[in-house]
């Protein structure tokens, strides 16, 4: 048997997606063919997805092998820990008062911390430190302004790459601060806080 492991994982993923979609769609009125309700098209879409996924499943039985690089137990453990951290931080932050719980800060903090946890392992750093640095940009931008956000994002994302040297990172951050000021603030004039908001 030449089972295609990648495709099998796809089947699992897509089936899960379709089933969750169908479950959520139970809230929506299907309507009639003449006056279709909000649930009509989602129903068609998710059933079609299930049918297609079944097709992928049968293909996957024979068109392998296409193995996935297996994850080590430690790798799995830190990802699970990271996912847990997302929920814990989100819950804690959204119940905390003040800045922590305001607007989308709980989501940003949860994503940031959740991405930092798996980054303990070197093999996860490209994925999770890059993601974390992007989330960090969102957290910092509004309270501390564009310049601080740029520096923080560059520094955190630089940790994802072993070839970086401190001086190079500092130079890169300084250059980007200057470039972004010229391009976005001076030339295009977009609306974004540039410096820390004192009030």
């Amino acid at each position: 048997m030449k089972i295609n492991t990648k495709d099998m994982v796809c089947v699992g993923l897509l089936t899960g997606f379709a089933l969750i979609g169908l479950w959520l769609n139970m809230d929506h009125n299907l309507g009639s063919a003449r006056r279709m309700g909000p649930g009509y098209m989602p129903m068609l879409t998710f059933y079609l997805l299930l049918i297609l996924t079944a097709g992928v499943f049968f293909q996957a039985l024979t068109n392998g092998p296409d193995p996935l690089t297996p994850w080590s137990p430690a790798e799995i453990a830190v990802v699970v820990a990271g996912a847990a951290a997302v929920f814990v931080v989100y819950y804690a932050a959204s119940h905390a008062g003040g800045w922590l719980g305001a607007s989308w800060n709980p989501l940003g903090l949860a994503l940031f911390v959740g991405c930092l946890v798996p980054s303990i392992l070197k093999s996860w750093r490209p994925l999770f430190l890059v993601s974390a640095s992007f989330a960090l940009f969102g957290i910092i931008l509004e309270p501390l302004g564009l310049m601080v956000a740029i520096v923080a994002t560059v520094v955190v994302s630089a940790l994802a790459d072993e070839t970086q040297k401190p001086l190079g990172v500092a130079g890169c951050a300084a250059f980007l601060c200057a470039l972004c000021w010229v391009v976005f603030i001076w030339y295009l004039d977009i609306r974004v806080p540039v410096w820390p908001q004192l009030s």
Partner: protein
Amino acid sequence: MSWTLRRRALLAGLPLAAIAERPALAQGGAWPSQPIRLVVPFAPGGTTDLVARLVAAGLQERLGVSVVVENRAGAGATVGSEMVARAAPDGYTLVMSNIASHGISPSVYRGRIRYDAVTDFAHIALVVSNPTVWVANPRSGIRTLGDAAAKARSAGGLDVATSGAGSSNHLMVVRMGQLIGTELNHIPFRGAGPAMQAVIAGQVPMMSDSLPSAANHIRQGSVIAVAMASAERHPSFPEVPTFREQGFDLASDSWFGLSAPAGTPAAVVERLNRETRAFLSAPEIRARLAELGGTPGDLSAEGYGEFVRREVALWAPLVQASGATPD
């Protein structure tokens, strides 16, 4: 205003360069001493956005600080409005309150929005109100509301296009159906443009639209204005009869105005009201707004607050009848 604008304006030697200058900060703690944010709860490009930019330019000139328009669209204009409702009431954050965010959405999104359209805001001034007009395709044979009612009662029913579900136009269609006594076949579109095109092409015979977006097509004769949903005939279209004249008791304007978070100092509200009204009464602004089909507002701050209160009460039962819900 910003550096960019100043630089570009100077480049071309525009008369606008004067107002594009970065204004000097006022001394002391007197309001206004820093830039004012004007939140428009719609995506750029609509009538509200456009007029907001006109008003921002006008206020900037009169107040001597920059007034920056910021678009925060979403959820029936409630996302941007909610942001302003929670902002510091210092007079530096304003919102373009409008028929969606402060008239209809409170009923549509009941329990979902975290602001009260009446009590969470210090309403400042009504900026523009636009009458609603019903237009028909010239080949549809509909000339009066009587024709429309007859077609609605016939076997095929009457299709009426609008700019979207949950809009004031949608609710007008529901209300009109109640008055005629038979349900109209409501055909919602994504915006007034596509809806108007369907009417011009004859795919839908009729449409309920706000006058600014329909005015041009009426003047060109690509559609016929059947009835104006305002108390009196519109000065720019005196030949179009109102709904009341044709025996249907229906009048509704769409509107938008300026509001600030509740708790904004009364002196600031008064000053903004004064400057806005002064700006709106300038002849060339009146002319521009008339071209759009709109009527500049001239209400006191209390008057506008009372106006918003009445609108919220007015739409609640119609929203219920239309079945528009966020779930």
